[in-house]
Subunit: 293 residues, 2 copies
């Protein structure tokens, strides 16, 4: 058996959000709403003498992952595998950070709870400037409402009791840090309006309506994304823009019905999880099995 | 298509707990720790002119389910199907209550969030006197630590990042209401000690140690359960007693290694969820599909 541990972290598409900045990365973050997806990132962590990060077989620099390894005080090879498009609003950097924290906790017997390791990953992602709310949503799974911003000790989460089919179509890349690093006042006002709407009426339909209205009011719609959303609406479906990516997501068969050829998945009900057959599962929990180490 | 909705709720085995009583069912509950199981209850809700509750094809009275239906203001046939033993510490009544709330929210378009419907089910379970902490753990999934008691608005949850294989063996039934309705001072002191131990060192091994110690200190071990736990320990494994049932649960191959023939499952990572193909999924989210209604 190779000495490694694996975790799966769902992708996360944000529908609307409001930015909350403090001096502390664990209380900085975003309120808002999003969908975690059955399409996600499988992260493998292997102890190593120096740190290397691979994503789909390509060596990459991901600040959030480096931050997690540093906070945990370990060196490792981190291997991410995903079918999700990169830089397109699916929270891949957050998934890599959280998956690294989960798999490393398992592999190195770090004695961290879910809230503790989620805090580490959230803080690293905020410090890297690549996301504000993906990690806490990915840790929970489902259709997540982030009622208060920040890591697990600061935030407050709720969810919608639904796991619809999701279709998505990516038209290009957007740089998250450009948007969330700039002036976010107008965006945050629109995000808080959207959140209030969904809290008042926590349904899937209201979520999609609030997301579309947020995208328009926050001034984030690109012309191409706008055209696709209008096509879906004209075909009688529900679609909006993934924050922040040049990506349209729709429920049910919204994009297919409008004549597009989208990726198809579902809302993931589970959230981030270590995968069976991991280090801890095989070795410590079956004390009589020879684990070859 | 039959007009019905379904939900799955994992079983929940409590390892240790401390009772918190207030005048309000939504702030009454228990702190403690437990495992949700991939073995659970599938609950189907069908609108009906009067309420009937079936569990494995037998008509039953389950106060927590009746309380949920009453709180939601609906009449329905509720059908539970499970492989879990009844009255043996697996949280079947909590699963029935939470599954009813989830499926009913879906079927009747009730516009309730996960926290709201979990609050309804938790409150109904507390008022029926059949459980204090199962529902909130079952809503979350995983190896759950309940740091503060009560429903979602009052409690605080954490988890251990592991999903080990679980074996269990049921020797008989115990009446939960007899124990949690009586004097719980000694039990709660032992439960808070156990919780502190696991919070300090959030590992699976520590969880099992704290559970065994709680069972002994709280004076809840029956002679038969004690014998089986000792057999598992002698065979080098980890086991404890399900609170509250005449049930032994073990990690990995603990019971098998000791020569028993246990049920085998895993820790469920997901928590309670509506099942695909439900009313909402088919009808509202695919607006163009003919749903036959």
């Amino acid at each position: 058996m190779t000495d490694e541990a694996k975790a799966f972290v769902p992708g996360h598409v944000t529908g609307f959000f409001a930015v909350e900045r403090t001096d502390d990365p664990t209380t900085t973050g975003s309120r808002g709403g999003g969908l975690t997806l059955s399409d996600g990132v499988t992260v493998t962590v292997r102890p190593d003498t120096e740190t290397e990060i691979l994503l789909d077989d390509v060596s990459v620099d991901i600040g959030a992952v480096e931050g997690v390894l540093e906070a945990l005080g370990i060196e490792a090879t981190v291997i991410g595998e995903t079918d999700l498009p990169l830089g397109s609003g699916f929270g891949v950097s957050g998934a890599m950070a959280l998956g690294t924290a989960l798999a490393a906790t398992d592999e190195f017997d770090l004695e961290l709870s879910m809230a503790e390791l989620t805090t580490v990953a959230h803080g690293a992602e905020v410090q890297a400037g690549t996301g504000l709310g993906d990690v806490v949503a990915q840790a929970r799974g489902g259709m997540v409402l982030r009622l208060e911003a920040g890591g697990p000790r600061a935030n407050e989460l709720d969810g919608l009791p639904a796991r619809p089919r999701v279709e998505y179509l990516t038209l290009g890349e957007l740089d998250t840090s450009d948007v969330i690093g700039g002036d976010t006042e107008r965006l945050s006002a629109a995000g808080d309006d959207a959140l209030s709407r969904v809290v008042e009426q926590p349904t899937v339909e209201r979520f999609m309506y609030a997301s579309r209205r947020f995208a328009r009011e926050a001034g984030l719609l690109t012309p191409d994304v706008k055209d696709v959303i209008m096509d879906v609406t004209e075909a009688g479906g529900e679609a909006s823009m993934a924050m922040l990516g040049e990506t349209v997501f729709a429920l049910g068969t919204g994009l297919s019905d409008a004549g597009y050829d989208p990726h198809v998945c579902r809302v993931d009900p589970t959230g981030a999880t270590v995968l069976g057959g991991s280090h801890r599962d095989q070795a410590e929990l079956q004390p009589h099995a020879s684990d070859g180490k």
